[in-house]
Symmetry: C2
Subunit: 673 residues, 2 copies
Amino acid sequence: MIKVTEYDCWFQKYGSAEDTKDIAAFLEHVICEEKGIIIENAAKELRFTLSFCFGIVQKSRNAGEKQILLGTIGYLNASYGFSLPKPKKEGFVIRSTDSKIIIGGADEPGVLYGVYTFVRLLALKRFVFGADVADAPVSQVRMINHWDNLDGSVERGYAGRSLFFNDNRIEFDSNRIRDYARLLSSVGINRISINNVNVRGMAKELITEKFLPKIAELADIFRPFGIRLMLSVNFGAPQPEIGTADPLDERVLAWWKDRADSIYRYIPDLAGFLVKADSEYETGPFRYGRNHAEGAHILAKALAPHNGEVIWRCFVYNCVQDWRDTTIDRARAAFDNFKPLDGQFDDNVILQIKHGPYDFQVREPVSPLFGALEKTRYVMELQITQEYTGQQIDLCFLPWMWGDVMRFDTGYGTNADNGAIRSLLACGRIEGLAAVGNTGLAANWTGHTLAQANLFGYGRLAWNPALSPGEIADEWSRLTFPDNGGQSIAGNITKILLNSYPTYQKYNAPFGVCFMVECGHHYGPNVEGYEFSKWGTYHRADNKAIGIDRTPAGTGYTEQYAPKNAAIFANPETCPEELLLFFHRTPYDYVMKNGKTLLQNIYDTHFEGYDEVRIMLDTWRGLQELLDGAVFESVKERMERQLENARQWRDVINTYFLRRTGIGDEKGRKIYR
Amino acid sequence: MIKVTEYDCWFQKYGSAEDTKDIAAFLEHVICEEKGIIIENAAKELRFTLSFCFGIVQKSRNAGEKQILLGTIGYLNASYGFSLPKPKKEGFVIRSTDSKIIIGGADEPGVLYGVYTFVRLLALKRFVFGADVADAPVSQVRMINHWDNLDGSVERGYAGRSLFFNDNRIEFDSNRIRDYARLLSSVGINRISINNVNVRGMAKELITEKFLPKIAELADIFRPFGIRLMLSVNFGAPQPEIGTADPLDERVLAWWKDRADSIYRYIPDLAGFLVKADSEYETGPFRYGRNHAEGAHILAKALAPHNGEVIWRCFVYNCVQDWRDTTIDRARAAFDNFKPLDGQFDDNVILQIKHGPYDFQVREPVSPLFGALEKTRYVMELQITQEYTGQQIDLCFLPWMWGDVMRFDTGYGTNADNGAIRSLLACGRIEGLAAVGNTGLAANWTGHTLAQANLFGYGRLAWNPALSPGEIADEWSRLTFPDNGGQSIAGNITKILLNSYPTYQKYNAPFGVCFMVECGHHYGPNVEGYEFSKWGTYHRADNKAIGIDRTPAGTGYTEQYAPKNAAIFANPETCPEELLLFFHRTPYDYVMKNGKTLLQNIYDTHFEGYDEVRIMLDTWRGLQELLDGAVFESVKERMERQLENARQWRDVINTYFLRRTGIGDEKGRKIYR
C-alpha cells in the first residue's frame, strides 16, 4: 500500500535513507554561509525537504566532513576558489566532488531552483554522483494568475475557496501559504497575481492602505521563495475619485503615480499590475476614446520608477455581438485589436495573449499574434484551472494540449523548429508564460488529486517548454506516487494521465468547433448553448453542414497567420483535422483522411471517448489494492462523475447530429432519437 | 394629461365630487354601528377611499340625514327592521332607499367586499341609484402564494425584493402592508401564504417562537381585511430535532401538534400550512416510504384542533429524469401520483393542483386531475408572476389565458357548460384558486405597471370565474387610467392588454410545445435549453418532426382525461391547434387548418408576434401626450425591452427550424441562416 498524502503533492515521504545511502554523508551537512533572503531559505528548504522526504536529519558540523554546499556561483568561486561556470539568469549548476556536492546558482533564485532540482532528482533516483547537472529557465516570466475574489470565491475555481481572501478581507493561513509557495517555487514559478482580473467591488480597494499592509505580509511569505507578487487593478479605478480614468489626463497619471508610490512603500519588489481592460464589460481606454497602448502607458509610467511592469491582457473582443451578423468573427479580435499597436507600448508593458483566439477551449489553433508582434513584449496565457476541460471532475492532463501549443510552428522562423512557440520562448521573443491557477483551500489543493499534475506540469513547461508531456507525466507520477516495496503504480498513472486529454477531446465538442457547453458554468454539453447568444462563438449547424468558414472566402481569419500557416489552415485538405470545424464550414458527408465521413467520425470519437473513460475507471479500480484508501476513493468518485459526464456528452452530441441529419451510425450502435 | 400614481393601482383620484353629486349627500355620512374587526375596518375603508378617490369628506352626523349604512344583514334586519335577503357566504347586497344606501353583508367580510364593490362601481360610473347590487364569491379559497425567501429575495419575483422579509429577518413597512391588504381585499383575496414553498435554511424556523411574534403582527394587519395568513412548512422539519419526519411515527405527530399549538397561540386564525413535498428535491413522505395521503394526514391531524387546513401541492414529478428514456412522461405525473389516492385525504386537506400538467407554460392543456378527483378537496394553482410569460418585462395579460382555462370542459359534467372549470368552481367541486403573487417592493408593486392588471384580474376571476378577459381588462384600465377631461385612454390600454397574450404566445414556443426557454432564469428563447436535461420537458425535434406523442400510441397521457377529451386530444384533427405539439409528434409538412404547413405556421406566427409588439409599442408611444410622464416612460422602457425579446424569439425560433429543415419562408421574409 503506497501512502500518499494528497496535501503534500510532489513532496512525498520517499522512504528510508537506504535509497540515499551512497551520498548520505553529504546530505547530513547542508552548508550555506552566504546571506540573503532567498539563499537562506534555499538552505532551509533543502534541510526541510531532506528531512521530510527522506528522513535525513542534519548533524552537527565537523570541519572537513562531506557536505552539500550552497551559494551563488560568484560567491562560491570567490570564497572557495571554485571555477564553476555561470549559468543563465535563475539557473544553477550541481557539481559533486569527493568532499562536496555543490549547488551553485547564477543568483539567489538559481540556488533555490538548484535545491529543488536536486531533491527531485533524489526522489526520482536520477541523481548521478559525479555528473554535473546544469539548468536554467528559458523565460523570465513564469506566472500564476489567481482569479480569486475578495469574498473568498474563486472565478472558475474548482478546488474550494480562496487561499487568500474571505468575506471581503485578506485572510490566510501563513503555514499553508508557505507550503503553497514551496509547491510553486519547486517547479520554477516566480510571479503570482493574487486577485481576480475582474476587479470589482471592494477588490478595487486592494491598492489602498486599507489592504496593503496585509498584502505585504503575503509578499513577505512568497519573497524567500523567489516569487514576486502582482496585483490585478481596475483601469477605471480613478474615476470615482477624480471623475475620469482617461489615460491622457494628467490628473489620472498623478492618481496612479500616487497609488504606485504608496504600494511600493509596502511591497518594494512588487512585480507590477495585471490588467483586464475593455473586456467583458470591464472598463478600459476605449471608454475614453483611447487605444490600448495609451491605456497601458499611463500605468507603465506610474510603475516605471519602481521597476514595476504592466501585464496587459489581450482578451479584448465584442461581447455583445449579434449572432445574426456573420461578418463579425470573435476569433479575429485579439489580432485586429493589438497587431496595429505593435511598437507603441512602453518598455515595461508586457502583453498577455491567450494561447488560442477564443477562450481556453479543449482544442483551438494557436493565436496568430504569436510571432506576429515584432516590437512588443508579450507572454502566453494558459489556463490550468479546468474551466472548459472538465472542472477538476473530469481528468484532463493539460501538458498534452500545451505540448501541442509549444510545438506549433508560427511560421515566423526560418524553419519549423525555430518558428515553434517553444523556440520563440527559448529565444525570448515570447517572454514567458502566465496561467490561471487551479488551487484553493481543498485539502488536496486542486479538487481532483490528479489535477495536481497540471499545476506541476505548467511550472515545468514554463521552465522548459521543450519538455514532453510524457516526461512531465512520468516525473509527476513518480514523485507523487513513489515506489514502495517494489510495487510501482506510477507507470499506470502516467498512462492514465497521458490518455486523458485525447479522451476528453474525443467526447467534447468535435473537431475544433468549440463552445458546445452549458452556458455560464461551462460544464457538460449544450450544443446550441451559445448559438444565439451575444458571446460571438457560433457553429451555425444546419441539416447539411457545421462550422465557420474562416478562410478568405469567409471571415478571413486565416489571413492573420504567417503565409505558410494561412495556406495550411485555409485548405481543408491540409488543415489539421482536429481543427477542421474551427476553420471550415464542413458538410456532414465530407470524407476525412480515414475514409469516413465527418458525421461518422463524430459518432466514432464520441463512442470511443466514453469507452475510454470506462477503461480509465477500470484501470483505476484495479489499483485499489496498491493505493491508500483516501486517495483511491477521492479519485474514483471523480472518475465516476466523469463517466457520467462523458456519457452525457456522447449521447447529447450523437443525438444532436442524428436528429439534424437523420443518418444513423454505420456500425449500428445505439444513438437515442 | 391623466395623472396616474402607479403605487395606487386601481384606487386613483377619480376627480371632483361633480361625478358623485347625485348621491353626495349619502356619501358624506358613512354609518356603521356594528362591532367587529372586519366590519369596523370596512367603514374605515369606505371613508378612506371616498376621501382619497373622490375627495369626499365625512360630515358630522345629524339624525335623519342621508347616509350610507353598513352592517351584516342579520344585524341590519334586526336593528332596523329591514328585510334584506341574505347572500351566500362572504356575499353582500347594496340597496338604496330615499334616505339610505345600505351595504349589507352576509358576514363581516361580505360587508367589506360590498364596500369595495360600491367604490369600484362609483369609480366606473356604474352605480345606479335605486337598483340592488348583489354578489358573492363563487369559492371560499381565493389565495395568493408568496414565494418570498427570508433573505428578502423572491423566487421568480420580478418586482423588487420581498414585502415581508429582509436579511433573514421579518421586516416590513406596516403602512405598505396595509395598502397591500387593501389591494388584495378589494378584489376578494382572503388568504395569503407569506413564505416560499421551498422552505430552506432559516425559513424552517418561521414556525418557531423566534419568528412567530413578528408573523402575528403581519396577521394583525391582514385580519381586518378579511385575509388569513398561511405558512409554508418543510415536511422534513422534525428530522433535525427528533431524527425522523416519518408521518407514521407518533413522535413526529407530537412534534407537529406541539408546533401547531404554539403557532395558534400567536395567530389564532391562521388558515393553515402550505406544503411542497417530494418535489424538486424537497423532502416528503416518499423519503419514509409513505404516500402523500399519509404525509398530509399528520399535518392535518396537528391542525385540526385549530380549524387549520393543509394545502398540499401536487407538483410532484421525477426531476432527475433521463432524457434518453422515452417511456417517462412528466405530464402524467400529477395524475399518476394523486388520482389513486382519491378519497384517502383528511377532511381538512386541500390539494393544490397546477392548472396545467407541466409548469405554468404559455400554453398548456388543463390538467386531467380537474374533475377526475371525486372524493378529495382541491383548488387550482395559477401563476400571476410571469415566470415563463415575460417576467414583467414583456406584457402578457394573463386573464386571457386563465379565461381559456375557466372555459375548458373537463368532460366530467353532463354538458360542456356544467363540465367547465368555472362550473366546477361554481358548484364547489373545485374549492377555489391559489396563485403565485407578482408583487414586491417595486414602487409600482409589480415591476411592469400594466402587470398590475394580472393581480387585479386574478382576484376578480377567483371571485367570479365567469368574468371575461374583456370585462376584466376594461374594469382595470378604467380604474387605473380614469377619464380626465373627456380624454379616455382606457380603451386603448384595454386593447393593448387583450392583444398581449395572443401576441406573446405567437412569438414564444410554438403550438404548445413548451419549454424552449433559457435554463434557470426562464427568460428568452433557448430551443434546446431543456432538451437533454433532467427536468423531463422535451420536444425531440429532428429534421422531420417535433413534439411528443402523448396518445395511446405514445405515452398515453391523453387517456388520463375524461373519454370525450381523451378522444379530442388523441386525434390531431380535433386537437386544438395551439396544443398540437403538446399532444402529437408532428411532421413539419403537416397541413394545418389554414392550409399551411406546420413549418410555415411557425414562421408566420413568429413574424406576426414580433410585428404585433412593434404595433403595441407604437400604440403606447401614441399615448404619450395623454399620459403622465413617469408612467409613460416606465411602460415604454419595458415595451422596448419586450420588442428586443420578441425579435430574439422570432429569429431564434425561425432560424432553428430553417436550419433543421432547410426549408425557407414561403413569403421570402428574412430568416437568418
